[in-house]
Symmetry: C2
Subunit: 377 residues, 2 copies
């Protein structure tokens, strides 16, 4: 199955090495990992498991960013969430990693909620629904524990008073032809969708504009968002700001399997697990839907073992089980046939429910903290 | 010379009857004029000379608007100015007429300053220059004497916090294909310019949105802006609001002559007279540049008289000399050869300078009134 990776559609079994070439990214090599590890160690922390496991696998200008950091020129982080549904496990790990970066480097985070994006790209979505999910999604982000003093939510329609003018500076430098080539627009694409990428570019330089000084920017994001930044990087330098650096992760597969369901996406029909799913729902979904790498019969499984490369439960543990030793043991046991598919699923279910139970407690408390996070204009 | 009429370019000798057909407008007929006159008389006012002289010559749905008014369903007015230079005489008369409408019907006016439009459509214009002219232009508008309690300035980049979200509702319903057909966009058109018409649509329903009730809208505007409203009228009804009504005027010619310079436009090279021009400058410009309908020699002029149909001075008096009797006398005298071109120019110079001298006094006082006019968010 041929794969497709655009900001609005991810399909098929994705070849990430191919994407690196196609998008013009740099692979994160061991030297760079060792360098990042040093910053973590200095804070008494380990290299993040998503880096150790190369789930964050590519970057642009990260070495330059760290050179600037070493000179005392701190960067800020920029990531985001386009609200149109509940947060699921395919989102959470990117922001957990972003929080880790905030902690290691002690930097500001600008978190964009482009509440117009899905409105413009989905026919049947209205602002009432989006506003509902915007509010829900903000609670999830706050629950992840970002430093409220250093984290600023930008909501496109709410903050248009400071963002729209900056977006126009970007828009003036992007021709229809360029946008069409990057995003595949058609004659029937609406004119808001064509303009939208200008708004996604803004948080990459708005902090510099507001502070009236040039501040480096690091964008952690899933690789499907890359076309936006590919287009805006050059424009942003033309406006007099640093080219934003970025660090890209691969997708967490949907429960249906890696080959058919390369990215968990509720809108594309895959079965996702949401932060609002209770323990029973999590258990039911994983037991019912998680594609298994196990053998057809108990006998065969005991004899030949399971295949971790296609097993979704195992793959999800790559994202959420931080302990390398535990994970290695699971891998060995599963591949040897000692661990059965049902048992592997039980491990995942416990892990996820433990995480979500804690998350939901923090999420409840987040309601009172919204005003601390939303950027004040 | 073939004429061109788009929001960004007006060229050649314009056939207004042809435009009525091409744009699908209604001609303002005598019955409608008589009806408008009644409202004016009720306020002790005369029918406006720009209506008497059919300079405001076309409309959309004006009869419907007046029917609603008669039922007690008051409309609001919406007009605007895209800042990129000083205000000239080709602008002033539209707003004088708009003020007359405000006074006759005692209605709210929403005055848009789309400060991004020229930024997006002119390569070499930056926001610093636009901000300068925005401020200058607002003073001119205030100086015209609009009721400060019923007049609200909307500045697109400043009011994007309330306008952008509404513009998105419009944008979602306009395809690239439609925008291209209406505005002639090309591959190299920037994506901000493509989006822009959505922002120009907003003031036509924003007052309804803010008041949470459907209020009819009347847009007085020069006919070159019609493509915007042709596109947005249908969209606005799809959003649940009344189709905006409009009333269109023809252009005041540039000093260079009606046939070559159908619309006074500083950006298109015609010689314009600005509100900031002093008496000597006005005198010099008119004497030097105003295309004359007079004959080549004094003898011939006395014998055959001048041609008012091409004489720019006479044509300008159509816009700014309110007194029909005076104007008719001037026409007779000029066509009979009694009045010489220099004398006709002297009449115009006096008329314009008298108006601008008063205007500049009010303009000076306007600086303290800005906060009363700019809409508070």
């Amino acid at each position: 199955m041929k794969s497709t990776v655009t900001p609005w559609e991810v399909k098929g079994n994705i070849n990430y090495d191919h994407l690196i070439n196609e998008f013009g990214l740099q692979k994160i090599d061991d030297e760079l990992l060792a360098r990042i590890e040093k910053y973590a160690k200095a804070k008494g922390m380990e290299l993040h498991h998503l880096l150790r496991r190369k789930i964050f696998f590519a970057h642009r200008d990260l070495k330059w960013l760290l050179d600037e950091y070493d000179k005392g020129n701190k960067f800020f982080l920029y990531t985001g969430r386009s609200p149109s549904g509940h947060i699921h496990l395919g989102h959470i790990f990117v922001w957990q990693f972003t929080k880790w970066l905030q902690d290691v480097f002690d930097v500001e985070l600008w978190f964009q909620f482009p509440d117009e994006e899905k409105f413009l790209f989905k026919d049947n979505l209205n602002f009432q629904d989006i506003d509902h999910y915007l509010n829900e999604n903000m609670l999830d982000v706050i629950a992840l524990g970002f430093n409220s003093k250093k984290t600023h939510f930008l909501i496109d329609t709410m903050h248009a008073g400071i963002m729209y003018k900056q977006a126009l500076r970007v828009a003036k430098k992007i021709t229809f032809s360029t946008a069409k080539a990057a995003f595949g627009f058609k004659r029937e694409t609406n004119i808001g969708a064509i303009f939208y990428t200008s708004m996604q570019a803004v948080p990459a330089f708005l902090p510099s504009f507001l502070a009236n000084k040039n501040i480096p920017c690091l964008i952690p994001h899933a690789v499907d968002q890359d076309p936006h930044f590919r287009v805006s990087r050059d424009v942003i330098t033309k406006l007099g700001y640093y080219k934003p650096s970025s660090i890209q992760c691969s997708f967490m597969p949907g429960l249906g399997g890696i080959e058919t369901d390369g990215k968990m996406s509720s809108s594309q029909g895959s079965v996702a697990i949401y932060t609002v799913d209770d323990n029973q729902t999590v258990k039911r979904k994983i037991n019912k839907y998680a594609f298994s790498g196990g053998k057809d019969t108990l006998e065969e499984h005991r004899k030949h073992g399971g295949d971790t490369s296609v097993d979704v439960s195992y793959n999800w543990l790559l994202f959420y089980e931080e302990d390398d030793k535990k994970l290695l043991q699971i891998k060995k046991d599963y591949e040897s046939g000692k661990l059965l598919s049902g048992e592997l699923k039980a491990i995942l279910i416990e892990k996820i429910n433990e995480m979500l139970n804690k998350h939901r407690i923090k999420r409840k408390k987040a309601k009172n903290k919204l005003k601390d996070y939303i950027y004040k204009i």
